[in-house]
């Protein structure tokens, strides 16, 4: 019984990881450079589960008492990731998670230095186009928000608003993730758009426009004056990677 349950749990953990990798939702949780590890772990779980079968099949009778016994409380705990994983529909972090975190709006020179973005992260955008993080990095290297006035920008992100936003502004936001969502940090640009108030939080949008100098929370920063906004589905890869 004990052995059977352990085999089953190990196998289910492997299956869980496997399904998440195959349907791509593993990218809702971790940086894509660790996906290989998830693959290996999925295979590892299946191997370990198989080893139980291979070893115990021959020697199960050899004991008079069991150690490493899985208690019921232990079983409940171990079942938690499986339950949460399968019962809660996978969704990337959204506007609700921003409330708990410091937003990086790229105010001049305040941004921490970040490693250069890796190739291939601009999925969903035309190759070579700058994403939110690229813009923020550019802003940080400059000291004058007016340096960017008039430049064209095309950004994809989700809508975030809070009490500080006027009716005609919202933030087009993304999370940066270096390891897993535990270290997610929101980044965004303030977008000016007449109907901003009608956009629901967490809605993914495709914004085209040009940069201008604007004011947010008393600070002069570059903002994006939108020419067009299209509602879109969340990209397959919802986070930006540092």
């Amino acid at each position: 019984m004990n052995r059977l349950v352990k085999t089953l749990i190990l196998f289910l953990l492997g299956a869980f990881l496997f399904v998440r990798v195959v349907d791509g939702t593993v990218l809702y949780y971790i940086n894509q450079r660790f996906v290989l590890l998830t693959w290996l772990a999925a295979g590892g779980f299946v191997l370990v589960a198989a080893s139980y079968y291979l070893v115990s099949g021959r020697h199960l009778h050899a004991h008079d008492h069991d150690h490493g016994e899985l208690t019921w409380v232990g079983l409940l705990i171990v079942a938690l990731p499986l339950l949460l994983g399968w019962l809660v529909p996978p969704r990337p972090l959204g506007a609700a998670a921003i409330g708990n975190r410091e937003i990086n709006l790229g105010s001049m020179g305040s941004l921490a230095s970040v490693a250069p973005p890796q190739a291939g992260e601009t999925m969903g955008l035309v190759a070579g186009e700058k994403n939110i993080l690229d813009w923020l990095n550019d802003f940080q290297r400059s000291s004058n928000p007016a340096d960017f006035a008039g430049e064209e920008a095309h950004l994809i992100g989700f809508v975030y608003r809070d009490g500080r936003f006027a009716d005609n502004t919202f933030m087009v936001a993304r999370f940066t993730v270096s390891c897993c969502v535990a270290d997610a940090a929101p980044v965004g640009l303030i977008v000016q758009w007449p109907d901003a108030a009608s956009l629901p939080a967490d809605q993914w949008v495709d914004v085209t426009g040009h940069l201008a100098v604007g004011t947010f929370a008393g600070q002069q920063i570059p903002i994006l004056v939108a020419d067009s906004i299209t509602l879109t589905e969340p990209p397959a890869q919802p986070y930006l990677y540092l």
């Binding site: 019984m1 004990n2 352990k6 749990i9 190990l10 949780y29 971790i30 940086n31 660790f34 590890l37 998830t38 290996l40 772990a41 590892g44 370990v48 198989a50 080893s51 139980y52 070893v55 115990s56 008492h65 069991d66 150690h67 490493g68 016994e69 899985l70 208690t71 019921w72 409380v73 232990g74 079983l75 409940l76 705990i77 171990v78 079942a79 938690l80 990731p81 339950l83 949460l84 019962l87 809660v88 996978p90 972090l93 959204g94 609700a96 998670a97 409330g99 708990n100 975190r101 410091e102 305040s110 941004l111 921490a112 230095s113 970040v114 490693a115 390891c179 535990a182 940090a185 540092l242």
Partner: protein, 357 residues
């Protein structure tokens, strides 16, 4: 989550217990159904801030779990390989006898076993089981998550060759060395849980898992692939023993992240002492794997003191929510307390001293 109930049961030797299957199946079934109902209710039939929080919590919890579980599995498999393939006499010969040399060896052992803070726990437990001295294991446990090729490389990638990289490695070794030495001098009795103890000292075999004991009984008679499968099965037992601590730790870390705004922590100030305290608290709460925490620390560089960043990089891998919970699977509670407080005090001291230079 009631740790009182979950912590000792699987690891204390249980003699003559009836199989739990015959004891509480209804209770389990009820709890499972209740849990499922709560999760489904929160995930599918609730809207508003509560549902949002629950969704965020779930995503962060699964994020930490999915990120960490391959490392724990790898550590468990290494543990299984040690059990089957490493001879205890060999280990006894390799470990230095003098206190200082032993603690130093423990602190540098990470080069031989490249594991992070999740993987190091089952490996340490298995090495204890093979007769490794307590102090050496303590130094290994604390240092290995930093002093190993993978983490050094990722720190190099983030910070380049400089004071942060050198400081991280040197101070991790130093603090682990001091902790190992103190454990050696204090020589506490009964620091380990019975399951982790050197079973050769007792007439009753307390292997960490039934499979471990099995391997023991068979005296490695299996050959070739058989021994490999045995190692995997021992690793599986280890994994099942440790994963509950990882899960509870991930739950706590995710709950903290969902409930406590990061900005309140970060806004508290950048004084030479308070900044160290803040980043140490953050390291403890975030529970990020040591292989990647350097990239996160990078984002603090402009707003925090050098000492606090080093404390984050040295203390975080030694102790955080999930690793301190996993310690409970190896050590007794009092020892776990020392294992948290010692590195905490030493890292704080280090950070403050660096800031005042």
């Amino acid at each position: 989550m009631d740790m009182e109930q979950t912590e000792p049961t699987p690891l204390e030797p249980q003699t003559a217990v009836s199989s739990p299957a015959t004891r509480q199946p209804l209770w389990l079934l009820a709890a499972l159904v209740a849990l499922t109902a709560v999760i489904v209710g929160l995930a599918r039939f609730t809207t508003g801030p509560l549902a949002d929080r629950f969704q965020t919590f779930t995503t962060i919890f699964l994020g930490i779990f999915i990120e960490a579980v391959p490392f724990l599995l790898a550590g468990s498999v290494v543990s299984g390989l040690i059990e089957i393939f490493i001879d205890r006499d060999l280990l006894a010969r390799l470990v230095p006898r003098r206190a200082g040399a032993a603690a130093l060896a423990g602190a540098l052992m990470g080069f031989a076993f490249p594991v992070c803070e999740c993987g190091v726990v089952p490996v340490t437990r298995r090495l204890y089981h093979k007769g490794l001295p307590l102090s050496v294991g303590v130094a290994f446990l604390l240092a290995a998550p930093v002093v190993n090729p993978i983490v050094i490389l990722s720190t190099y990638a983030a910070f380049g060759w400089g004071p942060v990289l050198i400081g991280r490695v040197v101070f991790s070794v130093l603090i682990a060395f001091i902790a190992g030495l103190l454990f050696n001098l204090a020589a506490p009795e009964e620091a380990l849980l019975p399951a982790a103890q050197d079973h050769h000292d007792s007439d009753h075999h307390h292997a960490a898992g039934e499979t471990g004991k099995l391997a023991e009984e068979r005296g490695g008679k299996e050959k070739g692939y058989g021994r490999f499968w045995q190692a995997l099965a021992v690793g599986g037992d280890d994994f099942m023993d440790m994963v509950r601590y990882l899960i509870v730790g991930s739950l706590l870390a995710a709950a903290m992240q969902t409930l406590v705004p990061q900005s309140t922590l970060l806004a508290l100030g950048s004084g030479p002492i308070i900044s160290v305290v803040i980043l140490m608290v953050l390291a403890f709460v975030l529970s990020i794997c040591s292989t990647v925490d350097a990239f996160l620390a990078l984002s603090f560089v402009n707003s925090f003191t050098t000492g606090s960043i080093l404390s984050f990089l040295v203390f975080g891998p030694m102790v955080d929510i999930k690793s301190s919970l996993m310690f409970l699977g190896v050590f007794r509670k009092r020892t776990v307390l020392y294992l948290i407080l010692l590195p905490m005090a030493l890292s704080l001291l280090m950070g403050v001293v660096i800031n005042s230079l």
